[in-house]
């Protein structure tokens, strides 16, 4: 086993060169390069974290904008509905007024027509009285031969008609 057989002869050079190499690795790599690599990793992690935070903020902003949009939409819809309701109410009012006017006109026409009807009825009634009186006078003359004046016949017809 050379490791034991040569030990006395080689341990000094082994330890010397090992110390040189280990010191080289320790100071150049361990203390020089490794912290820089670690710093790069930390830097990257920080960048990623910052980017994620920025993305999160942007998302929150977008959410807020959408919320705002929705609220605006809702408000516009509400105002539109109010406008519609107002217009409807106005239209209804106008309709009512027109209806009332038309009703008034119709009532007037109706009243005139009724007046005309009443007039013509009374005229007709008067002419019926005249005809009835003539007929009565004639009937009396034929039945009894008595001559009845037109005025007396009209008088008694009027009395009878009033009793009807």
């Amino acid at each position: 086993m050379p490791q034991i057989a040569q030990l006395a002869l080689v341990y000094q050079s082994q330890w010397f060169w090992l110390l040189v190499v280990l010191a080289g690795i320790y100071f150049v790599v361990g203390k020089g390069i490794v912290p820089k690599v670690e710093a790069t990793v930390d830097n990257r992690d920080a960048t990623i974290a910052a980017d994620l935070a920025a993305a999160e903020a942007a998302r929150a902003e977008a959410d807020a904008a959408e919320e705002q949009l929705r609220a605006n939409d809702l408000a516009a819809r509400g105002s539109a509905q109010a406008t519609t309701a107002e217009a409807k109410a106005q239209a209804a009012k106008a309709g009512e007024v027109r209806m009332a006017k038309a009703d008034f006109k119709t009532a007037k026409l109706l009243a005139e027509a009724e007046a005309r009807i009443a007039k013509s009825r009374s005229a007709a009634l008067e002419s019926i009285e005249g005809v009835a009186a003539e007929a009565a006078a004639e009937i009396v003359a034929k039945v009894s031969g008595a001559k009845v004046t037109a005025a007396a016949a009209a008088k008694s017809v009027k009395a009878v008609l009033a009793n009807v």
């Binding site: 080689v10 082994q14 090992l18 280990l22 361990g30 390069i33 490794v34 790069t40």
Partner: protein
Amino acid sequence: MAGEAKIDPMHQFLITPIGSDTLAASPFQFTNSSLWMLIVFAAILAFMWGGMKRQIVPGRWQVAVEGMTGFLDNITRTSIGAEGRRYLPWVFTAFTFILFSNWIGAMPFGIVPGAHPFTVTSQFSVTMFMSVLSFAIVLGVGFWKHGLHFFSLFVPAGAPLPVKLFVAPIEFVSFMVRPFSLGLRPFIAMFAGHVLLDVFGNFVVQGLNAGGPLGYAISALCFVAVIGVNALELLVGAIQAYVFALLTALYINDAVNLH
């Protein structure tokens, strides 16, 4: 080794001098082991350098580098807590050095003429040195942060006195054994794995040399075995690096937080 097919699985662990003929017992003696340590260092530097583009949207290489640092950062953070980042450089150093040594040692550099692959972590002089360093960090942090109160680490809190008297020596021994177990683990894994690879590889060649149906069958079988052991070796290499880093972090946690 040439000519006669002699199985010598230990040859791969031999440390040979580079630039001189004989090994000198000197710290500055450059050997194949030193060379492969420097190659490991260069590979780690190249790997980490490739991940230094520092882009917000990383490429594949950068993801690999960031994955490794993140993995080790996670180990220190979960094991030690918020203070763990202070100990990340050492945990990172230990992990990458063991991982790259194990994996580079398992690469088939032997097919390149003149190249002699060498696994740095198959030398317990290397792994023990690293575990002792980890242990020294644990002791240093423990005594610096808690003073002599650090010894309360060996006493189970809330236990009755007889239990404390009984358990404290056991805890102390288990604590003192830590550097050995920590250093032996990666060494044994690499040592055994490479011996196995060498033995099976030799069987492949010897089977072919012997010829005949039996020889070819053994050769084919051993070839499959070599592939399997190689795959296992890569897995074990990563696991050992992970275990070393994790245990180092856990031991440092003991020193930082005292239970």
